[in-house]
């Protein structure tokens, strides 16, 4: 079986394992409920867990991610049975509609979460340290693609792991969107009807679950995508051999896998109907799927928090000599601003969800009006994170735009200091605006005015970025390969998103716009402009650095020209129907509103966007073997990572560099940004154990 195709083996085992899991689940469920629910939650949950685990078993064997998943499944079952046993001992009902009771599922999922981390092997070094055993500074990775499915401490491997996982989640989230967009293409319910049943939900309930998960899965994909770019690129830009805490880097990545499993479990375990925002009281009475959602988000939050911690520590402690604050690459400034937000604010979404979880499990009446609780308090806690979170989503992307423009226009970044400070300004002001999501919530009416002022204020540092970009491009010598197309597209799309912000910021107009498709259009514009387009730009741009080959230019342009006009059509359509009365989060709309044609057009646009992403993914994987070779400074960039050959050597810079000039001095004759200086103490010698820029514990 030496030459077996791992993907085919994986798919074969996926089907087999899924069938076995399905059978086990069906058996357990029928013993518990007395009926055979073919499309029920318990058989589907088991099928999902077994299928995913078996897939990786086929692709990779019993190690790394596979062992992690096996431990997660076992841990979930063990945890569930422990609670069930305690319930039996306490004389409580041991089983529920979804076989395990809700407390058993929650505890089981938590145990499964943690068990995954032990199974994949990402905590083994720390366990050794706790036992007083020392471990080597860095591990050598196995050659080939195998290293991506197991624990690696190399930030470049981790960056790619993050990126690929993000692409997987984008595909899943996008698929969910296509499903419900197909339903929305015409008024009245076509296939998600009240008589349709799947995963213990009828059509409209399934719609709500798919819609909610589209939101959260996409959000997690954004967090992973930005982590992918930041982890890959930041050490290279700083001249570091790796991140400050490589093991924590690996941990922060691997935690996202059980988190994603939990999010998928939420669909299958009865779903939930609250949207990604999870407001109680609705979330307090949603099916048990909402607990899987809460736990999945909680787990993903650890990734975000620990990843940001790493970025900040790396930037402060691991810079090349001569890299003063005002000589940092602009993307590093963006990464720092992003990380400050993610490090701190993320805890609040964890807290808000935790409080609802405990309200459900122990009857703690935080948001239960009958117990004196306050539903609006949830919204304050939730949005205190979730607004700054959107700046987490976009600041790296805006940093990518600032980083790439000088390369493709051959001109310095206009007003570098101001652009750097604008990222910090957006991060700071971003903490002061959260209640603009709550103008209709019943919060204190007078509080709405200060939040209107603070929200409008964010336009100022954002404006600085736009004007600086235009001034950078003006008078340049512009070329438009695919990365630059996505940079330009990002600018225009983000502009649209940004400009549709102020009508939401002014309270009176927001009273009309809130909870309509206008908002949906606004945030799709800002997210695509601030993340999706720059994400693709970054991938097309740095791909040759990672792989030593470039992605296909023709198909890159097809991707761009298929995605961009479709996206405009989609978001203009959204804003239009929203203004005319189309509310958010509805499975169906009144034909008398006359929205049918608009929705049909939006659905077609959605499919075209999906197709363009598919084209990208095929290009991404194909180019690894078949892309045109690109081993030098393909873009003629001044940045240090392009001064060494591609693919990037395993330990980055064999000869360290010193910063001797400004990063973006294109057009200044004789100027250099970095110089590579042999330093006998710090040069990397493969055979020695001492390691340049040695990572801290």
């Amino acid at each position: 079986m030496r030459n077996r195709n791992p993907v085919l083996t994986g798919l074969l085992l996926l089907v087999t394992g899924g069938a076995i899991g399905y059978g086990i689940g069906l058996g357990i469920d029928s013993l518990n409920s007395g009926i055979l629910d073919w499309a029920g939650s318990v058989p589907s949950a088991f099928a999902l867990l077994f299928a995913v685990t078996s897939f990786f078993l086929g692709v990779y064997g019993y190690r790394g991610i596979t062992r992690g998943l096996v431990y997660q499944v076992l841990g979930t079952l063990i945890g569930g049975f422990i609670v069930t046993g305690i319930r039996v001992a306490m004389g409580l009902e041991p089983f529920g509609a979804f076989f395990f009771t809700e407390p058993a599922w929650v505890f089981g999922a938590l145990v499964g979460d943690v068990s995954f981390l032990f199974g994949v092997g990402v905590v083994s070094d720390w366990v050794k340290w706790a036992r007083g055993i020392d471990t080597p500074e860095h591990h050598e990775d196995e050659p080939g693609w195998g290293k991506y499915l197991g624990v690696s401490l190399d930030h470049k491997v981790i960056g790619i792991q993050y990126t690929v996982t993000a692409l997987v989640l984008i595909s899943v989230g996008g698929l969910f969107a296509l499903i419900f967009r197909t339903e929305l293409a015409a008024s009245q319910l076509q296939f998600l009807t009240t008589t349709f049943r799947l995963f213990n939900q009828n059509g409209p309930q399934l719609y709500n679950s798919l819609m909610s998960l589209h939101g959260m899965i996409m959000i997690v994909s954004i967090l992973l995508g930005i982590s992918g770019i930041m982890n890959y690129v930041v050490p290279l830009l700083l001249g570091a051999a790796d991140m400050a805490f490589p093991r924590m880097n690996a941990f922060a990545y691997w935690v996202s896998v059980p988190a994603s499993v939990l999010l998928l479990m939420s669909l299958v375990l009865g779903g939930f109907d609250t949207g990604w925002t999870g407001y109680p009281p609705l979330s307090a009475r949603a099916p048990v799927g909402v607990q899987m959602f809460f736990l999945g988000v909680f787990t993903a939050g650890w990734s975000s928090i620990l990843g940001s911690l790493n970025i900040i520590a790396t930037v402060i402690r691991m810079r090349a000599k001569g890299m003063t604050a005002m000589r940092l690459p602009i993307f590093v400034w963006a990464s720092v601003a992003t990380s400050i937000i993610a490090l701190t604010a993320t805890q609040l979404i964890g807290l808000s969800f935790q409080l609802v979880m405990f309200q459900r499990l122990l009857g703690m009446g935080f948001f239960d009006a009958a117990k004196g609780g306050n539903p609006v308090l949830f919204q304050h806690l939730f949005w205190f994170y979730s607004h700054p979170a959107v700046y987490v989503f976009i600041l790296p992307g805006l940093g990518v735009i600032s980083e790439l423009l000088p390369v493709f226009v051959r001109k310095p970044l206009f007003g570098y200091r101001w652009v750097a400070m604008s990222s910090m300004g957006i991060a700071l002001v971003g903490f002061l605006v959260w209640a603009h999501h709550m103008f209709t919530s019943g919060m204190n009416e007078y509080l709405r005015v200060p939040f209107m002022y603070s929200t409008l204020l964010v336009a100022v540092p954002t404006g600085v970025k736009f004007f600086s970009w235009v001034a950078t491009i003006w008078g340049g010598k512009i070329t438009t390969p695919t990365p630059m197309l996505f940079v330009l597209g990002g600018i225009v799309v983000f502009l649209l998103g940004g400009l549709t912000g102020p009508p939401n910021a002014t309270v009176s107009t927001d009273l009309h716009l809130h909870d309509t498709y206008f908002i949906v259009g606004h945030f799709h514009d800002t997210i695509f402009g601030g993340f999706v387009f720059p994400f693709f730009a970054a991938l097309y741009y740095w791909y040759p650095k990672a792989v030593g080959r470039r992605m296909n230019e023709f198909w890159g342009k097809v991707h761009f020209w298929m995605m961009t006009p479709s996206f405009f059509v989609l978001t203009f359509g959204m804003m239009r129907v929203g203004l005319l009365g189309m509310r958010r989060r509805i499975a169906d709309y009144d034909p008398a509103l006359g929205f049918d044609l608009s929705h049909l057009v939006m659905t077609i646009a959605g499919y075209l966007i999906g197709l363009s992403v598919l084209i990208f993914i095929i290009n991404f994987f194909r180019s690894m073997k078949h892309g045109e070779k690109a081993e030098g400074n393909l873009w003629n960039s001044r940045s240090p990572e392009w001064q060494v050959p591609s693919p990037m050597p395993a330990h980055n810079y064999a000869v360290p560099f010193v910063v001797v000039g400004e990063p973006y001095d294109y057009g200044l004759p004789g100027s250099k940004y970095v110089e590579f200086v042999h330093d006998p103490e710090h040069d990397f010698h493969p055979e020695s154990t001492a390691h340049p820029k040695m990572k801290a514990h």
């Binding site: 009240t194 306050n374 019943g442 002022y453 549709t500 909870d515 958010r584 057009g667």
Partner: protein
């Protein structure tokens, strides 16, 4: 420089065209409230500003892509321009000024739409998954339709029995959430006679898409006529068991799940239900007699109908007499 003049002209042209284009498309629904006036005014101002700013960025961008393209074979860099502090200050201060003006206008706008009329007609609104209930305390009438007279301010005092809902009539523009455990208020003055719809604007569960009620803006005369009818109907209904039962059904939003017409819904239809055979989820068959209906209301999870598993009907604190009235009403649905 020539470039700046050309771009300047193009920006103005593009801004005007964009604004005219957006205005022509007709972005807002018809304005039917006194609040819509100021809101649409501010919205219009914002559209103008958006059109200008859009042109201000996109025109120079597009212009540059054409005029400043790198020539074939040219491998040199462009002019080394690092920045311009005066320009930076200008494009920080001016936008700062503009946003502060908008915030100020926004505050004034908000005050205008919240203006209080002491003679406002009070309507108590209750949101229940998934229906609306409107009570007119001045008349002692409860309905599922909101009727209001033209030209008179309405004060909605709203709450929810279960989860967060939101009251929104697009033609009136303003919106306010209904929150369990508190009373939220919304004021509007309808100005255009017509038939509208209020649809829930905060996700509230399975049937959120269908949580709607008619909103009728009538002339004062027509409103008075309608109200007199409602008062009469309420009096008559209070006299009969089925009338009282129907009032309870309205008050508790049962029709959101149980249709009275035979149409499928979240719960079993009541049309033709009484003394009909019912198949339960466990496969057994029962007759929907008075005892069955009584139990189904008191203990909804006792007998789950096939096809409605996991639809969690809430419990209500009805007295036995109230349940008898409801059953009397259900009997009339055949």
């Amino acid at each position: 420089m020539r470039h700046f003049v050309v771009v300047g002209i193009l920006v103005v042209v593009a801004a005007v065209l964009t604004y005219l284009g957006l205005a022509a498309v007709g972005l807002m629904p018809v304005a039917a409230s006194a609040q819509a006036g100021p809101i649409d005014w501010l919205w219009n101002l914002e559209i103008m500003t958006i059109s200008f700013l859009f042109a201000l960025i996109v025109v120079p961008l597009t212009y540059s892509l054409i005029v400043f393209r790198r020539k074939q074979g040219d491998t040199t860099d462009a002019e080394h321009v690092e920045g311009n502090t005066n320009l930076e200050i200008t494009w920080t201060i001016i936008p700062l000024f503009i946003v502060m003006v908008f915030a100020y206008l926004g505050a004034g706008n908000l005050a205008e739409i919240r203006r209080v009329s002491p003679e406002a007609m009070v309507v108590k609104v209750t949101g229940i998954q998934w229906s609306w209930k409107f009570e007119y305390p001045a008349y002692g009438v409860t309905t599922t339709e909101l009727h209001v007279p033209e030209g008179k301010q309405v004060l909605l005092q709203m709450t929810s029995n279960d989860v967060i809902h939101s009251f929104w009539v697009p033609e009136f523009r303003v919106k306010q959430d209904l929150v369990p455990g508190r009373i939220t208020e919304l004021r509007f003055t309808p100005t255009l006679v017509g038939n509208y719809k209020v649809r829930c604007a905060e996700i509230c569960g399975t049937s959120h898409a269908y949580m709607e009620s008619p909103v009728v803006v009538a002339t004062q005369g027509d409103f008075d006529t309608w109200m007199a009818e409602q008062v009469q109907l309420a009096k008559e209904a209070a006299a009969t068991p089925e009338g009282r039962g129907q009032a309870l059904v309205v008050a508790n939003g049962c029709a959101a799940c149980h249709s009275t017409t035979g149409a499928p819904g979240i719960g079993p239809t009541w049309f033709g239900l009484f003394e009909h055979e019912v198949e339960l989820a466990d496969g057994s068959v029962v007759i929907a007699d008075e005892a069955y209906i009584h139990e189904s209301i008191k203990a909804p999870q006792a007998k789950i109908v096939a096809g409605f598993e996991n639809q969690l009907m809430p419990t209500y604190g009805f007295t036995d007499e109230q349940i008898d009235d409801i059953i009397a009403y259900i009997k009339t649905l055949r």
